[in-house]
Symmetry: C2
Subunit: 335 residues, 2 copies
DNA sequence: CTAAATTACTAACACGATTTAGTAACACGA
DNA sequence: TCGTGTTACTAAATCGTGTTAGTAATTTAG
């Protein structure tokens, strides 16, 4: 920086003013041009460490997640976050922790050491979490997860709406006997989608029939088994809502084995819009997409707002936002 | 740090010596304990910016990739890299650039601004790249890609060996008429796997038959079409090697439609060991896994070595390593 | 018993920026 | 002519650490 100053015939201070576009410094355009030319000439590159040290801003967001990469969803979340951050000149510092609580703590502390401006704490499926206390030292957004007391802002998929939209679509298509195969574990997706399913039925004044709902494991195998079970009776459902695309894939197998055609004999709708399954099945699977990319980008967006509020001193002690994002309906040919 | 020093009744320098475990400072254990206790007491956290600024080491690796997250593979690469880095107290600074060359340049420069100790430049399928020149300012490893003049170290899957292993396995199972459906585009995977296929045939003295090889698009649809074509004649192949699992998925459809059972009538082998396809198909797909996780971890490992050499001044002007990693053979039930 | 070496520290500079406080020169209005 | 304001800068302090050079006290060697 001193070299640039020398070449431009000004002081280091002036160079800083020009590079940071400090209006109040009243540097005439002519001088600015001289400085900028000198910087380019010398291929000057500002040292972000020094800059961050002095200004107490690193333009860096810590991204902690439990199993960053072991699911295909994960990528889209990171991508959404990264791209939104990039637009605002922020970068992501990545840590994935596995399910080790101690490691989560070290992860957060490591990020705090690095003076990140904020932290995104993400999980790879919608659930409750207990992040380490030190996370509160810095603005934080929870992604695809939440804390029970809602003391931290959070963004998750709107499971109820998703279940409702899927079921309601089937109802609009004229179906009255709609089966639902679901995860046996009572995670938020289970609870929410089931609630949405019931809500749509209620609105259409179709009585809820517990025999049309089956619970099992969320694999292709599980989908196969549950579908076989639900469609064993002669008085069959005409539509099937699957908890996820993997189960839908299994449902396809089971229905084919029963010589039932999709969507003519049975309409099938999935959940997740999973790459390399949903679109590739034959017929293409109609499904609800999870807003992974959007959650990533929303999280960064909200986080940047919190950060700028803290830096302006305009922090409010209002209740942290609990955002739910809509699951887009993806129409293909199975329903 | 000054506070810690005060509480421990020593100078700031001593605190620094203790925290950095500087042997040559000869601090007695007793004093060390006092300092460490004070640090814990005050919940002291070292400022990584200041530390990095002074020591010119950030313990940070820049990770640039073209489409970080849009493929399910990507995650595993990042995971491998991240976990290996974490073990050595390094973190990953993430940027994904899309296919925009200008953006790649800014990405690299942004990382250099941040004083990263090294850069990993990754692509999401094996190919040649032209990274911006400024990348050479810092140790760099190419991941799943390479530069034509081999002037940068690189790690890629061993495509030839992969094709060879798959084909050879089928041969060992007694097959002589082995079909191969392949990507029409001449990417390294196309060239390598085809070469491996031919090599295995040659070794077994099975003449290469061009009619057994078909080229098309690498989707399920493509696999379906090519398989249908290759198995249209009455004199059918008894085994099918697929360029990837998606095509294998299509092959399953086509073979089922022809009433051919897998693996009894036709043995099928895929490539990629793709999550949610390979294991979930029925029968489970025997396939070649891509060493994504290993490439990530190898890249970091090698990069750290380059970094430490540079920092020791023991850099050698030897030819950059071009590493090929084996694709593990995953035995399931389709072959 | 003295010189040299070792122990156990500390003062002060350096890393490369940002930012505050200030100054010299000039313009302008009264 | 004086005082005030504005313009166009700069000197110096600061961010929080790492590191070198040095020092006083103690131990060791001869």
């Amino acid at each position: 920086m001193q070299d640039v100053a020398n070449l431009a015939g000004v002081s280091r201070t002036t160079v800083s003013f020009v590079l940071n576009k400090v209006e109040s410094a009243n540097i005439p355009t002519e001088t600015q041009d001289r400085v900028l030319a000198a910087a380019k000439e010398l291929n000057y590159r500002r040292n972000a460490l020094a800059s961050g040290l002095r200004s107490q801003k690193t333009h860096t967001i810590g991204f902690v997640s439990d199993v960053i990469a072991s699911t295909p969803y994960a990528g889209r979340v990171v991508q959404g976050a990264q791209e939104r951050a990039w637009e605002e000149n922020y970068l992501l510092l990545l840590v994935n922790t596995g399910n080790n609580q101690a490691m989560k703590k070290t992860a957060v502390e490591t990020l705090l050491d690095r003076q990140v401006d904020g932290i995104i704490y993400a999980t790879m499926y919608h659930r409750e979490v207990h992040p380490p206390a030190s996370i509160r030292e810095v603005p934080t957004v929870l992604l695809d997860c939440f804390v029970a007391d809602q003391a931290l802002p959070s963004v998750v998929p709107d499971e109820v709406l998703g279940g409702y939209t899927a079921t309601n679509y089937l109802i609009q298509q004229g179906h009255r006997k709609i089966a639902f195969i679901c995860d046996a574990v009572k995670v938020p997706a289970h609870v929410g989608r089931l609630a949405g399913y019931k809500k749509a039925l209620a609105e259409a004044e179709i009585p809820f029939d517990a025999d049309l709902v089956a619970f099992g494991v969320t694999t292709q195998q599980g989908g196969r088994d549950l579908t076989r079970k639900l469609f064993a009776h002669p008085d069959r459902p005409t539509a099937l809502f699957c908890y996820n695309d993997r189960m839908a894939m299994g449902a396809y197998d089971a229905l084919h084995a029963l010589n039932l055609s999709i969507p003519n004999d049975v309409a099938v709708i999935g959940f997740d819009d999973q790459d390399l399954i949903a679109a590739d099945l034959d017929p293409g699977l109609t499904t609800m997409a999870l807003p992974h990319y959007d959650m990533g980008s929303w999280a960064v967006n909200h986080l940047l707002e919190l950060i700028s509020r803290r830096q302006n001193g305009t922090e409010q002690a209002s209740k942290p936002k609990q955002q739910m994002l809509e699951c887009p309906f993806i129409k293909r040919n199975s329903a």
